[in-house]
Amino acid sequence: MSDHHKETFITKYIFSLDHKMIAKQFLLTGMFMALVGMLMSAIFRVQLANPGESSILYNFLPSHWINEVGALNPDKYLALVTMHGTILVFWVLTAGLSGTFANFLIPLQIGARDMASGFINMLSYWFFFAATVVLIWSIYVPSGPASGGWTIYPPLSALPQSIPGSGTGMTLWLVAITLFIVGSLLGGLNYIVTILNLRTKGMSMKRLPLTVWALFFTAILGVLSFPVLLSCGLLLIFDRSFGTSFYLSDIVINGEVLHNIGGSPILFEHLFWFLGHPEVYIILLPALGITSEIIATNSRKPIFGYKAMVGSLLAIAFLSFVVWGHHMFMTGMNPFLGSVFTFTTLLIAIPSAVKVFNFLATLWKANIRFTPAMLFAIATVSTFITGGLTGLILGDSALDINVHDTYFVVGHFHIVMGLSAIYGMLAGVYHWFPKMYGRMMNKSLGYIHFWTTFICAYGVFFPMHFLGLAGLPRRYYTNSSFPMFDGLSDINSIITFFALSGAVVQVIFLFNFFYSIFKGPKTTKNPWKSTTLEWTTPVERIHGNWPGELPEVKRWAYDYSKPGYEDDFVPQTVELKEGEKDV
């Protein structure tokens, strides 16, 4: 940028307006929260494998969460599960993933100097930051953090008498999520407008990299669905704090007859899942976009069926608004309505299948270069297949009767949403690290990190399907109260073993990440020999991204191994030859 006013530490690293710095802020906050969330899951997995026993991991917890014999209190188990879900869904895989890569990649890949509004962008991060502080704070209030599950269904979440976490903890949860939503909306607005308006010359929508397309649909989903969660939360706040009866009716608790009449908890579920389902695609789509990009680059081959890839993203995004009822088959909803939701839900399998086949077709006759990012991208396809298939069971209302809210669901969504998105995020970090920090991450550590993670993750989540098919409900402090589950303790031990190992091996990644920021070997301008615009910027990562003129785009983003060219990649800025057709 022309006006080179002096940058202080504060304007450069803290209240930065530069999209690249804001992206890193999101990434670091997201990584921190990922660690917190992962630690929580390690703790409750220990409880599930050794119910009622003490563990050194409990030293991380406030002391009043532990009873006299050193075991975790049952309601605090639920607190951990709730916070784990909230943190991973919203903080890590919404803000951490979209926030990082939308901010980082959109301007770089469309050829813009920055976001449409740097100021709004900065606000977006600081709202998120404030939300983070409030959420962490809520863990330490005396009655404990929110404990009603990340879906916060009332009346449980509305009545402090029903579980201690529904007191101050829940209030802070709602404050945090409100701040979070405001931050996400500000970010989302910016992403959409930037993509629509600030594309450089020649960058038509038809030439956008798939990452940008995915982030675009993600932002639209967010802008349309988060406000509904806000309205849902607003009514809950009034029920909790001001005694209205939107969601409450006919309740007697602790011998006290409440005055509320006529409210409906089901209403809450409708509003919640109208956001909740799009939310899972807000998590997944960026990962799919990143995966497409990385698979094409490292296969040295164009992504197969670009148009179908965009079309299926669009179809998934659209359908995600009309399927929310599949979370509510067992609420006594009208069976006909259930049928409608089954129908729309199973339709999503079609665009998903198209994506999988197109990924496979991209790999066919490729010349694959296995960077750590590529390994994670392939793993994303694998989890997308594995987890997507079990969705056919959960989306079928008749089958959902017996697996709804069991560990089968936990297995399903961790694989299809949790793992796919985490892999996508890790792939993105490995791939764009040179662009973010000007240095390379260590390859060998990347390989070790990948394979250990891959093994542990399937070791954790695949067996959960069997727990579910054995009838084990989720959100159980222990399954030792039912003789029918006595045979399951082996499975539980296996899961916990892999969960703890999986958590430990993340140290390899963390080490690699921070070590490489400072000590990694310097990178060249385009280390992956990629076609997209971000690799035409200088390694030094300057304000405004490109010195001098913005680059001009002449072709689509996937000219890898194009016949007639010496190199196996043709950057987007290279003029089409005489008579050459752009795809």
Binding site: A116, S117, I120, L185, G188, L189, N190, I192, V193, T194, L196, N197, L198, V223, L224, S225, F226, P227, V228, L230, S231, C232, L234, L235, F238, F242, G243, T244, S245, F246, S249, H259, I261, G262, G263, S264, L267, H270, L271, F274
Partner: protein, 181 residues
């Protein structure tokens, strides 16, 4: 129009879309909740009718700001008028709530009903968004006093107007929704 101005206008429009979803969420909750029964019916108090008129007038007045610019005059007085009308609107809404409690329609507590609670919350949520509009008007009037606006350079005023008209339309929607749905 430069790219940036276009982008910023779009930013506002998409933001408006987002606000619409918020109210769509609330009003569909209203419909679903009403269908479940146990629903008190009551008359919408008069102040809300007056406030509707006031906000319509304010929107009409605001359209003259642009013609002032065409005449190369300052739109300050126009903006100030709209601001005052906005304050009157707010006062009328508060009055409406008072009237409601007089009628025995309460937000909460024993004897309250979701029908009433919804009315309070919808009007309150609208008012919160309106406060944003008032702040924007305040900024615009300061800019107008400083003579910052001209026919070529009126982006601030344009944004404020768009948002203010939106608030009017949103209120009309809510009003007719509450009256007839």
């Amino acid at each position: 129009m430069s790219v940036n101005i276009k982008a910023i206008k779009q930013l506002l429009w998409i933001g408006i879309g987002s606000i619409c979803m918020f109210f769509a969420g609330l009003t569909s909750a209203y419909i679903v909740r009403k269908a479940e029964g146990n629903w008190m019916s009551f008359e919408i108090p008069d102040p809300f009718i007056y406030s509707t008129v006031v906000i319509i007038i304010s929107s009409i007045v605001l359209t003259f700001a642009k013609s002032k610019l065409k005449q190369e005059a300052s739109p300050f007085k126009i903006i100030l008028t709209v601001f005052i009308l906005g304050i009157i609107f707010t006062a009328l809404q508060v009055n409406g709530w008072k009237e409601l409690t007089n009628q025995g329609v309460f937000l909460t507590g024993e004897g309250s009903n979701a029908a009433g609670s919804f009315l309070y919350i919808l009007t309150l949520a609208h008012l919160v968004h309106l406060v944003g509009g008032l702040v924007a008007l305040l900024f615009s009037s300061v800019s107008a006093v400083k003579g910052k606006y001209s026919l070529e350079n009126s982006i601030g005023l344009d944004l404020t107007s768009t948002y203010w008209h939106f608030l009017g339309i949103l209120w009309l929607y809510l009003f007719f929704f509450l009256k007839y749905v």
